[in-house]
Amino acid sequence: MNAAVIAIPGSREAKRLAAGYGFWIFLLSDIVMFACFFASYAVLVHATAGGPDGRQLFDLDRVAIETACLLASSFTCGLAFIASDKKATTLFYVAMAATLALGATFLSLEGAEFLSMVTQNAGPTRSAFLSAFFALVGCHGIHVSIGLLWLMTMMAQVYAKGFRDDILRRILCFTLFWHALDIIWVALFTVVYLIGLAP
């Protein structure tokens, strides 16, 4: 039996279903966009134009910490979702704040990486490889930044309005977004850093 048939159109369940479903479709389109940046990175990875390649630039320790932060933030984000489902306000704030802190740590580490590369004359204008690298990793970073803005907006909304139906739908979409960014990071970590540093 199809779930859409059970949920009465216009009902609370139908709206939640549509919001989650629609956001999944949007996430798929976002993943297609990332696929283009992955493809361009794969095409241009050897086009270093005499400049440095990944082996000379990547720092696996830093990337490992970044990955740990992001994976842990997915866990805390999941906790926040459960808290919103149970309307447990304190747990929700704590879990969201932890997600915010982990996300911000991730972003600052990424920023430090970008900065160190630019100062070594290995910025995005140096070679096509570096253009593709900065675009791919930067696109993910911009997504994380938007996610953090969204996270803070959701905390403010819960503070101002409580766990209203429409706000719960937005929290559902936010957590989907955050987990999708995690999945993309796993691919990015593998394709860019692990393969880039492989002997």
């Binding site: 859409a4 048939v5 159109p9 216009g10 139908a14 279903l17 549509a18 479903y21 629609g22 479709i25 949007f26 798929l28 389109s29 976002d30 297609v32 966009m33 283009c36 940046f37 493809a39 361009s40 095409v43 241009l44 086009a47 270093t48 134009a49 995005p124 204008t125 140096r126 070679s127 096509a128 490889f129 253009s131 593709a132 900065f134 675009a135 803005l149 907006t153 909304q157 101002a160 309005k161 429409d166 937005r170």
Partner: protein, 672 residues
Amino acid sequence: MQPADLFWGKLTWAAIPFGSPLPIFASAAVAVVIIGVLAWVVLKGHFPYVWREWITSVDHKRVGVMYVVLALVMLLRGFIDAAMMRAQQAIALNAPGFLPPEHYNQIFSSHGTIMIFFVAMPFVIGLTNFVLPLQIGARDVAFPTLNSVSFWLTATGALLVNISLFLGEFARTGWIPYPPLSELAYSPGVGVDYYLWALQISGVGALLSGVNFVTTILKGRAPGMDLMRMPMFCWTALASNLLIVAAFPVLTATLAMLILDRYLGFHFFTNEAGGNVMMFMNLIWAWGHPEVYILILPAFGIFSEVIATFSRKALFGYRSMVAATMGICVLAFSVWLHHFFTMGAGANVNAVFGILSTVIAVPTGVKVFNWLFTIYGGRVRYNVPILWAIGFMVTFVLGGMTGVLLALPPVDFLLHNSLFLIAHFHNVIIGGVVFALFAGYTYWFPKAFGFRLHEGLGKAAFWFWTSGFYLAFMPLYVLGFLGMTRRMQEYDVPAWQPWLIAAAAGAGLIAIGTAFLIAQLVYSIRHREALADLSGDPWDARTLEWSTSSPPPSYNFAVLPEVTALDAHWVRKQQSIEDRTARSMPSYVAVEVPRNSATGITCAFFATLMGFALIWHIWWLAALGVVGALATFVVFAWRDQVEDELSAEELSQRDGVDRAARDRASNPRLAA
């Protein structure tokens, strides 16, 4: 280049083309029309109505109509570009003509950009918006406010393209801005930037409406409306919007890479530092070919509805039609390389894509046979919509065959970038998409406004458009064989000129056809009492949109229809004739109607600021635009009351009046 000013960016008085009279006059005319319309609206006191009922409306029917209006206005703009090109080529034998090269190049670029992104796309999305929720028995799309945002972002893109007429220039690179020509080194002006930001902003609009429609179709159908009971148009809309969701992010990514190259000195597609121009061709056509099917699949859907209705028969081979539609949807992603066989990917690669490109003609052929078999044995009424459909079948088969010819790599090597190609894709886009849009416009007009369009003027428009199309584009096939390439501002082969003069005459016939379309609209509005349709079902049609009043109430259906079969409305009509029973009294349930929202127009206002500022490197204004758009969403999210409830009693009372009016109109004895 001098360093940009901190406040004005690259914008100076030199941006206004005082030297060339054509764009100045054109933009002055556009400005006069816009100011005239605005002044009329405000002075006549219509502004509150327009603001409340249209601009801030989130009703899918209103949004759909606004999309179609945008498309029709931009069609005139794009057609003027086309007429100028035909006139130029008719006289430019060993002569400069009346358009200097840099102007001519902008015209063919803006013609293509406008016709695809701001005519075909909004027209298709507009009709989908209007029809789709009605056909699946829904009260609105899944996300009504998002729908309004999508429309206004599309309008933002169109506005930016039109601003380029007056401030600065438009791209001279063609409608697909191939690097390295479109890179900063070879196109230092703002033309390519206008193109890029107009498309990025309207592309977000298209993507969001794709998400919206897919969700609406898959999660918003009325009880009993199984997938295999959906009208054919809904299936084609589903396929088309799945393609939007999968293809438009590719366009966004590709244009983002070109933007990074131009704005921040990246090297995706540059000649230096390892950039790869061929990657651009692959990426852009990985969007560009599915885009063709995004436009043509809903066109097939419109023809399926029109042909079944006017033949008074169920659509022949419904299941094969569904299979063909979804087959095309998948195959659409596997043929992009045929746009650049000559790039040098190698014989084997070319062979694979050549074979796939011919294979995609098979499901299309299935569809043509299904339409023919639907007409066969039917009691055909030759109203305007089916005339467009018949004109389409003849024309489109011709365009399909030249397409199969071009899909063969050896032939393509001879015809690549010749006028044969131009003739081919106008053959399928005009003969396919545009004819379908006119058919759908005529077919659903009475549903949208409660009165029909005048038949005679519509038939005149059809005959002038069709004959004009053949006269304008058949010579281009010949010119392709004679070796004429596309985009020539001047030429020195006397043998080409007679064909080009014929083509210009064809454009003249199309202009007359367009004049008839305008006359038809004006005449029909003025005689709307005589052309009124109160029955809600003027064509004796088959699908659910005809079971409600024209125009439908904001909630579409007072009681959600229970669907038991394909062609739900037709089946119900037959049933009530058979049973000789009136409808049973429905039980009404309160309905939530989404509130109006200025989110769309506010968001578009800030997006326009952002786009314009980025084009002219006015960074503070761009930041203001981004922050403003984000703040708009937060304000939107902060609303407490998002829906108004319509009580069961009020619904029952309103619906009673509507039903009585429909019954009187469809059964004259009751009226007497």
